[in-house]
Symmetry: C2
């Protein structure tokens, strides 16, 4: 029979099912809540906040687009779209580097830095209140290990997790 | 000074920061990947899949809208929108119950059940491959406890996690 060649579905056990549903609901509700908080208080989506933070942490407040994609683990299309919108807002500017042909840079403007300084306290408070404060320090470590295992698995599977952009090779 | 009344931002420690960013990136990438899988293979968003599963697990394949909102932890507007789209697809039908004024029901149709049977093996395989298989059984338990703590915290904070709909009170 043809079915012998088809692997039977590996259904989840009751324990796995419970863990998966709790995870799914917690991540969705937390993401929706933090998104609403940032939009309401600072007029920006969470994804844009991540980009501003990442740029602000570099010495020159700028990164090659490929590097920014890797650090935020964004796909090429997702990042390009976000940076275009951040340019319109005057929070990021694109710059080309004459002596370096490896691609364009994204640079945090003074307005962008000011927007980040304004947004950060409220956002960090929300992250702390709804995630960190709910967990023991041990659970915070567990969450990091679990998240890193999932990320490593997605990368091994070839899922686009921010591969280099603008390469000439 | 007015500032004395303002609590200083409770910034994240380095460990908390690392855990938060790994969590943020893992959940986003996993959600994007599973969303793409379901859209590509079964033509439905993940949120609709959850509704079909939830209805399929009841004896009569139907639930009062308020109960469906609670079980999927959806807000009123989110659920109403999704059920309207599922009705258009012919996968769910709404029904009113004459002897029960506590609200309308959503009922899984035979077409909806068939769509779910078709979608489930590929989706469960993706969840297993990219989440469960990446973790030890102990980590699966940890993830459940962490997720339930976050959900309980959001509920205590009054975040809309699927409160009753259609009540006459």
């Amino acid at each position: 029979m043809a079915e012998t060649a088809t692997r039977a579905p590996r259904w989840l056990s009751d324990d796995e099912q419970r863990a998966w549903r709790a995870y799914l609901q917690a991540t969705r509700l937390l993401a929706e809540h933090l998104e609403a908080q940032l939009q309401r208080d600072s007029g920006m989506p969470h994804a844009y906040y991540e980009i501003l933070v990442t740029l602000s942490e570099t010495p020159e407040r700028r990164l090659r687009m490929s590097e920014l994609a890797e650090r935020t683990r964004s796909s090429r299309s997702r990042l390009s779209h976000a940076v275009a919108r951040l340019e319109e807002a005057g929070w990021v500017q694109r710059a080309n580097c004459a002596e370096d042909r490896r691609g364009a840079f994204a640079e945090l403007t003074d307005d962008g830095f000011a927007a980040l300084v304004e947004a950060a306290p409220g956002h960090v408070e929300a992250v702390r209140t709804h995630l960190i404060d709910q967990l023991t320090p041990e659970q915070v470590s567990q969450l990091q290990a679990i998240s890193e295992a999932v990320l490593a698995g997605l990368e091994r599977a070839g899922v686009d997790t921010g591969c280099p952009m603008g390469s000439n090779s």
